[in-house]
Every structure is written in structure tokens, then in C-alpha cells.
């Protein structure tokens, strides 16, 4: 495939004497969780977003031909590694994208480095991907734990929520989220009154919520994810926590979680995301198209990240005239070109692989304020791109000198 492309490019250059653009062939793999916990925040929705990105790009660039494959890693690093290996080695995939689930993402990142191909993470959260575990073949789009912690923490303290109590999931992810948010809160002048750790996949939070209630902290930070977050929020409503004057800060919450909770339960929840479907007309139009493939669902920032990531990758492929055999070179090119797409606007990719863009502090609307289905959020604040993500020097990424 590679040789053919090279020959084709050469022939094209010789034949057309630079007047026409030559044929660029690309193969992209969307690796996601199609069937289990993250199927809603990534999953088939990511495949739909990918197809849209390809369609939009090839409309303007008819010389580019893109083939797409998709796979289900089922949240198992073994399967993710196996698929990534097979795709890069046998199926000649040039770039893999998405992968919600940090464990799988770290594994695939290794494979991409080993095979010198490209990996764009849209779905996973671990800020280590652009930190100690960074490499020259991986780009981290959409979001990460540092951004979530810092965005939510700092912004809430600035708006008056200066005493905090943490409800933390007792494993590495929860600890990292708690640690980063605590740092942000204290840096912004707030105080942490206490914390409690709960086991992952806990059903019943009443005893933890009781402790949060009695701490009298203004803000209860939920350093957990998925079902745990939903259960905490649901039961907080039951115990009248928000009615009693305390507010909930969801440190990792997606639009699909809000839909699962329903507005009566989730109202008042504060969270940070980097993309919301209802923020402007471009997003709304995009969402309408996306929903033709995914009826009844709402796109998350992860889906938007897949779209934007592929768009930028294809631009890079054209700039490199289809020569995609050296993953490191491709990623270097991606970092050198500023990004621009209809969803995230203008942005850049830093040397450590971190894509930067603004983040938004969102608050879940009261049911009475919600005018139509999907009208979930009020935008409380915008965090500019250069403040939203961890400073380059603090990441301990080996690619960043000094």
C-alpha cells in the first residue's frame, strides 16, 4: 500500500508537472468501546462523527481517498492492544483515533510508538498521556483530567464556592482527579474541609453523602465517573443536598450522563466540558447531521474531538502529499500546523501532544428553563485555551526539554 502510494505520488508528480494535486490514500481506524460503559460517550457515535469528518473533507479535496474501519476494545487493554497491532501491521491502518478508557489508550499509545504510526486520543482522560507517558506518535485531543480538575475547581472558587468536600472513587483515577482539583482549589484561595473515599461501583452513597452534608462545605466535589457519579448525584437529590444550599461539582460528567439523570435531578450541577452542541449555530447544524445516524442521542465532546482530529489529520496528509509512513514525522507536521475546524475553532497542538482549546464552565439548567430536548446547560464561564490545560513545563513529558 505504502509502495503503491509512493509510486503513484511519483508518477503523478512526473506526469502532471505539479499542476494537479496527487492522489492521497489514507486508512483510519476508530477504536472505541462499542458495547459497554463508554458506548454512549464514544462508541458508534464516534464512528458517525468520523464518517462526517471524512465526507466533509473529501468533498473539498476529491483527490483524497479515505478508508475507515472500526473496532470494539470492550474496555480491555488486551483486546485494544491486539486490535491496534493487527490494524497497524496487517491492515495497513495509518491512524487510530478515539479510545475512551485511559488504560486502553496508554496501551495503544505504546503500540503506536512501537510501530511508528499515529494515534489521536479523543476519548480517554488521563493527563499522563501528555505527561510522563507521552511519546512522539500520540496526540491528546478533547480533554484530560488536569483540565477538568483545574477548570471546575478554579472557576467554582472564583464564583464563590470556596469550601470543598470531596467524594472520591478509591482508585488511581479518582485519586488523581481529587489531587488535581484540590491543588486548583487551594491555589485559587479555597479550602478543602474534608474528603471521603468510596469503592468503585458503589451503589449506595447515602453514608458518604451524610458525611458531606455534615461538613457544611459549600461545594461537594465528585471525583468519580460513570455510574458512581450518576448514583451520587441521584442520591444527593434525594437527600436534598442542593436544596439545602450546597452545590455539586461533577468533575467528569458528560451530556449523556445528564440525559440519564434527567434535569430535575441534575439541575444545578456544575461541570467543565470543551464542547457543547448548543453553543452556536455551527455546533447545532453539525449535531443535526450527526443525529441522522444516531437518533435520540446527543453528541458529546468526545465525538466532536473525533471529528476535529480527523479533519486536522487529513489536512496534514495532504500537506505531506500522502507520505504517511513515518508516524513521528506526521505528528510533528500536525504539531507545526495550527488547527481550525467548525467545532473547536482555532487551536494548536503543543510539543507534548496536547491539543489546546478553550474550556467552558457549564451549569445544568433547571427543568423550567429548558426549552427543548437537549437543552441542558447554561454556559457560566469560558476558560481561554492558554489557561485551560496544564502548563507545558509542569507535565514531566520527556519530549519537552527543560
Amino acid at each position: 500500500m505504502r509502495r503503491f502510494m509512493g509510486l503513484a505520488a511519483l508518477a503523478a508528480v512526473l506526469a502532471c508537472s505539479g499542476a494537479n494535486a496527487q492522489q492521497v490514500n489514507v486508512k483510519i481506524g476508530v477504536l472505541s468501546d462499542m458495547s459497554s460503559l463508554y458506548a454512549d460517550i464514544g462508541g458508534p457515535g464516534s464512528v458517525a462523527a468520523a464518517k462526517m469528518a471524512i465526507a466533509d473533507f473529501t468533498k473539498d479535496h476529491p483527490n483524497v481517498k479515505v478508508e475507515i474501519v472500526s473496532g470494539d476494545h470492550q474496555n480491555k487493554p488486551d483486546i485494544g492492544t491486539q486490535i491496534a497491532n493487527q490494524w497497524y501491521d496487517v491492515d495497513k491502518v495509518d491512524m487510530i483515533i478515539d479510545v475512551p478508557n485511559s488504560g486502553v489508550a496508554l496501551a495503544v499509545s505504546q503500540v503506536a510508538a512501537n510501530k511508528n504510526k499515529v494515534f489521536i486520543v479523543s476519548g480517554a482522560a488521563a493527563s499522563d498521556i501528555t505527561g510522563p507517558k507521552c511519546n512522539a506518535n500520540t496526540i491528546h485531543w478533547t480533554y484530560d483530567t488536569w483540565m477538568l480538575a483545574n477548570g471546575t475547581g478554579t472557576a467554582i472558587v472564583k464564583t464563590g464556592g470556596d469550601t470543598w468536600f470531596f467524594l472520591t472513587s478509591d482508585y488511581a483515577f479518582g485519586h488523581a482527579l481529587e489531587r488535581d482539583t484540590m491543588a486548583a482549589v487551594e491555589k485559587a484561595g479555597g479550602k478543602v474541609l474534608g474528603k471521603v473515599r468510596h469503592p468503585i461501583n458503589t451503589n449506595d452513597f447515602s453514608s458518604f453523602l451524610l458525611q458531606a452534608q455534615s461538613s457544611k462545605a459549600k461545594v461537594i466535589g465528585l471525583a468519580n465517573a460513570g455510574g458512581d457519579t450518576i448514583n451520587s448525584i441521584k442520591q444527593a437529590a434525594e437527600f436534598g443536598i442542593v436544596k439545602g444550599g450546597q452545590s455539586l461539582a461533577g468533575l467528569l460528567v458528560f451530556a449523556s450522563d445528564v440525559a440519564a439523570l434527567g434535569l430535575p435531578t441534575a439541575q444545578g450541577l456544575i461541570l467543565t466540558e470543551t464542547w457543547y452542541w448548543d453553543m452556536n449555530d455551527a455546533n447545532r447544524a453539525w449535531t443535526k447531521r450527526w443525529q441522522q445516524e444516531r437518533q435520540g442521542k446527543w453528541p458529546t465532546m468526545i465525538h466532536a474531538g473525533v471529528y476535529a482530529g480527523i479533519t486536522h489529520y487529513l489536512k496534514t496528509a495532504v500537506a505531506l502529499k500522502g507520505n504517511l509512513s513515518d508516524g513521528k514525522a506526521v505528528v510533528a507536521q500536525m504539531k507545526s500546523m495550527p488547527t481550525e475546524d467548525q467545532l473547536f475553532g482555532k487551536g494548536t497542538i503543543r510539543p507534548d501532544g496536547r491539543k489546546t482549546h478553550p474550556a467552558y464552565l457549564l451549569e445544568v439548567k433547571k427543568p423550567s428553563d429548558s426549552k427543548y430536548p437537549g437543552d441542558f446547560y447554561n454556559v457560566r464561564a469560558t476558560i481561554p485555551a492558554d489557561q485551560a490545560f496544564r502548563p507545558l513545563k509542569e507535565g514531566n513529558c520527556p519530549l519537552v526539554s527543560g
Binding site: S35, S36, L37, Y38, A39, D40, I41, D170, V196, R197, H198, P199, N201, T202, N203, D204, S206, S207, F208, L210, Q211, Q213, S214, G227, I230, N231, K234, Q235, E238, F239, G240, F254, S256, D257, A259, A260, L261, G262, P264, T265, K297
Partner: protein, 295 residues
């Protein structure tokens, strides 16, 4: 206000009460399992999935007919109970003569199917379901805020649990059931339709799971994996209580809820392992469980 091991007594009593509330869920769920195992000698690994189906049925009933929580409490268990009857007729009845580990494997497979189908149609994030109007709000008891709904859960569980125990241990119908488990041939000779009783008993056990599901829907996340997360803990409860004993399941359910609640106060990170530790100890010391019959 005084302190016990550094925890203020008000917090302690609050946690004890919450433990009791959680215990009532465990009791309700392990009751269905105990009934099925005690009467049928089947280890119903799909109990968690059937609990999930109860919650989903409540959601669907609300979506399609507008009927809310109270009608769903009756309708959902009946609907899911009927699926249980179908399962028994089409799948389980062929396995009675075999080692009861095959029943475990079959119901495990069924649980995967139910969960997979639910996930495909409803996604994994969960579905919204709220506490019914009449039960919203709560009472300020001084040492804690008790949501009305939780009080209702305890009351309902106690009623259902002891009602079931009474029917099985103290009525004639229950006597027939217990006799049929011990000696089906003899009971049939008396003209009692044993296969039908077995089918209906399985259906009843499943309906109990679904009932617990409907009660859980307003406070726990209604998702396809809600049962899978709970089922292993419930198994531990049943094993500790004694796999044939109805009373054992009920009392152990409440008791373990309290133990778990206390662990959450003193040593929260261990609160999901404490039940397994207890199970391992009980199994070594009293293999048939605290109240169980001979293994």
C-alpha cells in the same frame, strides 16, 4: 453528643439507620434467591438481570402508558415474573436432573443475554426515573435527614419479606412447596401438580427481584449493568445466611447492610470487601450458613 472511636454518635446512628435501609434491599433480593434455591435447588445467576428488568419495566411503563411508580410496583413484577415462567418452562426444566452447577451456568448465560440486549437498546449511561411525588422530601430526625422514600423502602421490604416467609413457613401452600422439594414423587401422588408449582415458584422469585428493581429505580441509576454489580454481593448474603433458609436470607440481608454501613464509617475503602471476608469466614466455620440446612 458523645464520640465512639472518634465518630460522633449522631453520625453513627445516622449510618446505622442507612445500613438498615441498604440491608432491606439486600434482604429483598436475597429473599428471591433463597426462595428459588430453597424450593428449586437452582442457583439463579440471572437474578441481578431480572432485578434490572424490573427497573427497566418501570421506566418503560412510565414511557409508554404514563403510569407512574405505584402501578409499576404491581405491574412490573408481574411482567417480569411472566418472563421468569417462560425461562423456567423453556430452559430450566431440562436441567433438574443434572448437577445444579449447570443451572448456574445457564442462568449466567441468560444474564449476559438480558444485559446485552438492554445495553443495545438503551445504551449504558442509564435512564432517568424520579422519586414519586408523594414520597419526596424527608424528615429531619435531629441526627440525620431521612428521605421519606428510604423510610418507605424499609417498610415495604419488611412487609414483603415477612409476608413471604409467613406464606412459605406457615401456610398450607408453603407446606406443599416444601414437601415437593423434598419428595416430588410422593407429593405428585397426592394429586398436586408439582411441575406447575415449581414454575410458579420460580416466577415468584423472579417477581421479587423485579419488585426490588422497581423500588431501586428512583434512587439508583437505572442502567443495564445495575444488576451485575449487585448480584455477587447478594450471593454472598445468601451464602452467609444459608442457601435454603428464607429467614436466614432476610436476617442476614439486614444484618450485613448494617455491617457494611458501619464499615463505611470506620474504614470506607474496605466497605465492598467486608461482605466477602465475612462470607469466607462463615463458609469455613459454618458451611451451611448461619441459618442454613445441611449443605
Amino acid at each position: 453528643m458523645f464520640e465512639i472511636f472518634g465518630i460522633p454518635s449522631t453520625a453513627l446512628f445516622g449510618q446505622l439507620l442507612i445500613g438498615l435501609i441498604n440491608g432491606s434491599f439486600y434482604a429483598l433480593l436475597s429473599l428471591g434467591l433463597a426462595v428459588i434455591f430453597g424450593m428449586l435447588n437452582i442457583i439463579n445467576f440471572s437474578h441481578g438481570a431480572q432485578y434490572m428488568m424490573g427497573a427497566f419495566a418501570a421506566y418503560l411503563i412510565l414511557q409508554y402508558s404514563g403510569l407512574g411508580y405505584w402501578p409499576a410496583l404491581i405491574i412490573a413484577p408481574i411482567l417480569v415474573g411472566i418472563t421468569g415462567i417462560l425461562v423456567e418452562r423453556f430452559f430450566l426444566q431440562w436441567l433438574y436432573k443434572l448437577d445444579h452447577l449447570y443451572g448456574l451456568l445457564l442462568t449466567f448465560g441468560l444474564a449476559l443475554i438480558f444485559e446485552g440486549v438492554a445495553r443495545n437498546y438503551f445504551g449504558s449511561a442509564g435512564l432517568p426515573y424520579t422519586v414519586p411525588e408523594s414520597l419526596r422530601g424527608g424528615q429531619n430526625l435531629g441526627f440525620m435527614f431521612l428521605p421519606n422514600y428510604r423510610a418507605w423502602v424499609v417498610a415495604a421490604s419488611l412487609v414483603v419479606c415477612f409476608g413471604t416467609w409467613f406464606v412459605i413457613e406457615r401456610t398450607r401452600l408453603g407446606a406443599y412447596l416444601r414437601a415437593a422439594t423434598e419428595n416430588p414423587t410422593l407429593v405428585r401422588a397426592f394429586g398436586i401438580n408439582v411441575p406447575r408449582m415449581i414454575t410458579l415458584t420460580y416466577g415468584f422469585g423472579v417477581a421479587l427481584a423485579a419488585f426490588a428493581g422497581v423500588m431501586a429505580a428512583p434512587i439508583y441509576n437505572v442502567s443495564p449493568q445495575m444488576g451485575a454489580e449487585l448480584i455477587i454481593v447478594v450471593f454472598a448474603v445468601v451464602v452467609i445466611g444459608g442457601m435454603g433458609s428464607i429467614l436466614g436470607a432476610i436476617i442476614t440481608g439486614f444484618g450485613l447492610g448494617v455491617v457494611e454501613g458501619l464499615t463505611k464509617v470506620f474504614f470506607p475503602e474496605a466497605s465492598n470487601t467486608v461482605i466477602f471476608v465475612i462470607m469466607a469466614i462463615v463458609l469455613l466455620v459454618r458451611p451451611a450458613g448461619l441459618f442454613g440446612r445441611r449443605a
